[in-house]
Symmetry: C2
Subunit: 406 residues, 2 copies
Amino acid sequence: MAVGLTGLPVLHPVPGLRLGTASAGIKKPGRRDIVLIEMPPEAHCAAVFTRNAFCAAPVLVAKRHLAASTPRYLLINTGNANAGTGEQGLRDAVACCEATAAVAGVSAAEVLPFSTGVIGEPLPAGKVTAALPAAFADLNAGNWVAAAHGIMTTDTVAKGASRQLEINGHRVTITGIAKGAGMIRPDMATMLSFIATDAAVEPGLLQRCLQAAVEVSFNAITIDGDTSTNDACVLIATGRSGLPLLVSEQDPAYVAFALAVSDVCTALAQAVVRDGEGATKFMTVEIENGADAEECRQVAYAIAHSPLVKTAFFASDPNWGRILAAVGRAGVAGLDVGRINIYLDEVCIVQGGGRAPAYQESFGQAVMEREEITVRVQLGRGACAARVWTCDFSYDYVRINAEYRT
Amino acid sequence: MAVGLTGLPVLHPVPGLRLGTASAGIKKPGRRDIVLIEMPPEAHCAAVFTRNAFCAAPVLVAKRHLAASTPRYLLINTGNANAGTGEQGLRDAVACCEATAAVAGVSAAEVLPFSTGVIGEPLPAGKVTAALPAAFADLNAGNWVAAAHGIMTTDTVAKGASRQLEINGHRVTITGIAKGAGMIRPDMATMLSFIATDAAVEPGLLQRCLQAAVEVSFNAITIDGDTSTNDACVLIATGRSGLPLLVSEQDPAYVAFALAVSDVCTALAQAVVRDGEGATKFMTVEIENGADAEECRQVAYAIAHSPLVKTAFFASDPNWGRILAAVGRAGVAGLDVGRINIYLDEVCIVQGGGRAPAYQESFGQAVMEREEITVRVQLGRGACAARVWTCDFSYDYVRINAEYRT
């Protein structure tokens, strides 16, 4: 079950933003599998999407609509990814946008579609559009918790994060939700995450703010190394807080705001890892003293993706040879293994490339019994660092992915 | 259990070469965990080793000895990898060579050491050297089967391959053994493989012959993506067949010989995959019509390493969306997904980037029930191809790697 997650925190409403859910019966009858998010006309919206070449139909349509106009509605369905569905998939995604636009009295380009679920099956667009009136009737600023549940797939818990801060005498709210569980190694954003704020932010700056936050949060997690076809992360700014428009990266008000956005993204990204399919351990992999950030990320992912390292953590086995082997195969040119130190939390297990003289198996064992563990590797090459969060690899990962769909 | 392996084939003795095994009690008492291979003075020996930066002490010592002289003995132990063991590990590896040399009356540089087993624990060199007299007493040309068993770790079956062919009226024999099971994504050779022939081959040509054979066999398999610290593959040529010395790549006799070596390496490499930890399926991943071989290998490994693809094969679930997602995230620049076709054996599942019109779930299901399945992806970009062998990902992979060591 989800490691260290004890239920949703308070999700503060974001003035100007309303959410509604409804049941379209896409995969499971009765499940509230449609989420509709409504933005006020003055809102702006930044978004990042998967870099998987096979990106899903809704991703293509959302990008096209974003380029053409300012969105007023996000329409999200679970139970079907509408990916690998060719021309028909594009038509289905557009049809859902058109139906939403017809109910709302806006243009289809003002609606962004998002889908998550099984890849390769046609989206039952008729079921989606039939559920739209109910979703509209449900629109309410207080529906964040229902929306967090609405976007779940194999997630075992709903995921949300919320911050409120005072900036220049104005209370600013940032609230977000995310879904994760499997096919998670975001290359741009997580599977699906929607974040909103009542700050007013110049659109270009809003996009840079989201990209910077995603880089250190969603783009620093991995569950199984499988980048999804449907990843998307959206940041909406309704501008209702009263705080004057943020236009500059140097403005201290923007800095405070951007830190809080980063904080919300990090909490959501970590929640995705904590609820990774079959996860029993939450691992932070920190690489230090690298020559550049890229080689640090390379080493971090070699460890975080290693099935041998992940199964050793599942077994609470301080089998540090597997960590060492992963560091060695990470492809860092000219790596001097004689300068490498490795720590499990506070315990130094490898010093100068070999077993640390003071290390005893019982020390490593004590750390491995914990639910949350930091693996820290010092490369001895420079001053750069990188951090990645991941989870272990258990019987349940295999069970979940062997049973999914069947 | 091992997919499609029904016991060792006949392993023809290689004239001039003798093998002996003995029990040193390194990890399990009574287990014959030492293998000694003796070459005649006129033999030559080619070798390739892991490219993992953390290569084990015996790998470092073997490379140094190979550079200094022509080997007469290979000394292999299981139960301990002597990796991550620092200076003491190097001293232990050298001590084992010196003890072997003392019994045989050769120099220590004429002995190459090989180790496989747990990483990070000191090699009990005393136990190894104490077992040497028994290994020498056991030396016999007919001991290939015992040697194949002697080098096993988590392997469930011993692995060997043997070919005899007539070249210019001379019977030439090529026989080899290998071990695999886990931490298998060779970046030079498999965990450990030893092959011998009675052909006479000029040393430089012998090395090129081995490298070419390894490239299409051991370097084209993966079980878990974890390149080992101890990979090594050795090809010994005793020169006893009577066939004149092979000196040229253009010589038809060499071409016939090299094909047979490649054939033996491929049989051994496939046996390693068939007996991958927890394997229930043997998968061939063929990528065709790529712009170059490198991008084909990239796509092949993205599929072969995907935990989602591997668990779907374990479940016999034709969840082709996972294959498509893996192709999409393989990092091929400018990939036009609209030109991609994907086949499961003879069944076309994806055509032009989407579900093939004639495809029905029952067709895919029928293929997925098989024990051996070929995934074929056509990229529609050029004339290059690549092929990789791998296995599925089962509960038993997790069990084996969560229990190993404990």
